[in-house]
Symmetry: C2
């Protein structure tokens, strides 16, 4: 996968620059947004959109959503290079959600640099993030693949469906975060992951299926593969945070007890509260809800989580989801190389560092 | 127009409640967003979406975008009640932009109450505002009008086009606001209005034309009518602020010298800076750029604007745009009543209080 990612990156960034060039001028604005009624101001669009968006994109990011799209296109028997513009759709959407999430979470930094709203101001960052929800969707109208109406409509309907669910997931996450009490069920937590993170994966997979005109069955298996991998990834992340904090995992750059300090009601926390005796459950809920925690309190919370068997429980669920993802790959009936790419991607997601 | 607004309001709010009910339950979530993979949490969606969105909607707002849509549908010879769900699209979009704009501008209040991010928190407000960009677009997929593929696709393509331009307009506005210097031309200012405010008007008009299957020519005239009225409205707003501050207009609820205090580079300011002698132009630019101004400085700025003939200039442009809007109504070839409604709407917009 690593190789495929590096190989495609320059072409993907070039395709993103076709949507929004690094240097904006009137000619680009007229070609992408239509003739102005009066007169565009390219300098403003440079500062309001191109500068902040490329600032974020140039900080890195693996562009794996674009690459996964291309892997799917190849798996479906088409030439990936013919569909490059579409590969940018989930990538630009994802980076837009990052900007908006950082404003919502009042995040300080992103990819080792100040969060975009700190560097460019909240107004510029937010408008740029929101613009990224619509900029790439024009690609379907521009129709570089020469798709018939039915496929273009299917792409829009799919995108509206998944982007609506993204906001449901984010809404669930925000709501739980703002509540003192721990209220969500484990299944609701997984639904939040499926909506918030999984839907972007589903967009990758379904868009590849739609633009290459696959059957509904193929589209469904591809979507469920991507969603399931995304949920497994989130669980893996939650497990890593606890194991790292318990001194068991390799350094992955996160601080000790990070999730507990942030008050995250992860799958492990939800499991531990349900499975521990009432005193421990209450103590864990209190630590999670507290504004500040000492290292001793973090350790106490970690011990409660560990003692309740939550780590094994979460790993089992991640593993089961990963197997489910592989079953969807098998159902796709694609060539060996492509299936291997999708399999190694799913395994990479669950196994990393753990 | 006032009567038509009041008459339709209950039906419009009922149609909005079909998109997002006041009380969210699992049955609604499944029907609008599809079956969950795991399990929805209706309580979170209630708090994250339904509560804040209805809080804003219940504060008022004339729903004129929805009503104008219905006026167009009737003008095009169809029964408005058959197209009610579509009328909510521009209305929900508009209210979403209000929430997001208020976060971007760090506004304190909205419709006489605390801005949504003050009442519900920035994270909830922002996610709710963004959700409103996608919630109503599902209506086209749900297809209550039984439209063929080509019309549904046309609706999505139109929406993506106009929503992209909305973010261009907002980007121009934010960028100028953040700059000390006055750099925009008058035509760029009008383009900003056409994009930022006009595009929502265009959505109203074009959506009505698309769902009732009008010709490209009719769609164009309707769109240009709506855009032109919106731009005239913005100029009218700018004029009102100056005239009111000069003690010439009726009380319209704005504070003395409001736009100047906020540093707005309105059409009047741009004209005054271009047309005044260099000393006055520089003085006006300085006052506009200052963090704080005394009442004497505001008065000085107002006198420079007045002396340069900017009020008459802006009124002339608004009047010319209004006439242009009426010419588009004439070109529509619709019945007398409908044309009268559109005409009175355009006149109301430019004439109010001035």
């Amino acid at each position: 996968m690593q190789e495929t990612l590096l190989e495609w990156r320059p072409a993907i960034d070039e395709a993103i620059a076709d949507v929004l060039p690094r240097e904006v001028d009137a000619a680009y604005l007229e070609s992408y947004f239509g003739e102005p009624t009066f007169e565009y101001d390219p300098e403003s669009i440079q500062r309001a959109l191109a500068d902040p968006i490329w600032d974020l994109l140039d900080r890195g990011g693996k562009r794996w959503r674009a690459v996964l799209f291309l892997v799917f296109v190849e798996a479906f028997g088409e030439a990936p290079e013919d569909y490059l513009p579409y590969a940018t759709i989930p990538e630009i959407l994802h980076n837009g959600t990052i900007i908006v999430d950082d404003v919502e979470d009042e995040a300080e930094s992103r990819r080792g640099e100040p969060a975009l709203h700190h560097r460019f101001g909240q107004d510029v960052a937010l408008n740029a993030g929101n613009a990224m929800y619509f900029l790439p969707l024009k690609i379907i109208t521009n129709n570089p693949g020469g798709l018939p109406e039915s496929q273009r409509l299917a792409a829009y309907e799919m995108l509206m469906h998944e982007l609506n669910r993204t906001h449901l997931g984010q809404g669930m996450d925000i709501c739980w975060h703002n509540e003192r009490e721990v209220r969500a069920t484990r299944e609701q937590y997984l639904e939040m992951c499926a909506c918030k993170t999984g839907c972007l994966g589903r967009i990758v997979a379904r868009l590849a299926a739609i633009v290459t005109d696959q059957s509904a069955e193929v589209e469904r298996h591809a979507a469920e593969y991507a969603e399931t991998v995304a949920v497994a990834f989130q669980i893996g992340d939650d497990v890593l945070d606890v194991e790292h904090s318990l001194g068991r995992a390799g350094d992955f750059g996160k601080a000790f007890g990070n999730d507990i300090r942030e008050g995250k009601k992860t799958l492990l926390v939800l499991h531990a509260i349900e499975e521990s005796d009432p005193a421990d459950a209450e103590r864990l809920a209190d630590i999670i809800a507290a504004e500040e925690n000492t290292d001793e309190e973090i350790t106490e919370a970690l011990r409660i989580i560990e003692a309740s068997g939550s780590i094994e429980y979460a790993k089992d669920r991640a593993r089961a989801l990963s197997e489910e993802a592989l079953a969807h790959v098998d159902a796709l009936d694609i060539d060996r190389d492509a299936a291997e790419q999708l399999r190694s991607f799913a395994e990479f997601v669950v196994e990393r560092d753990v």
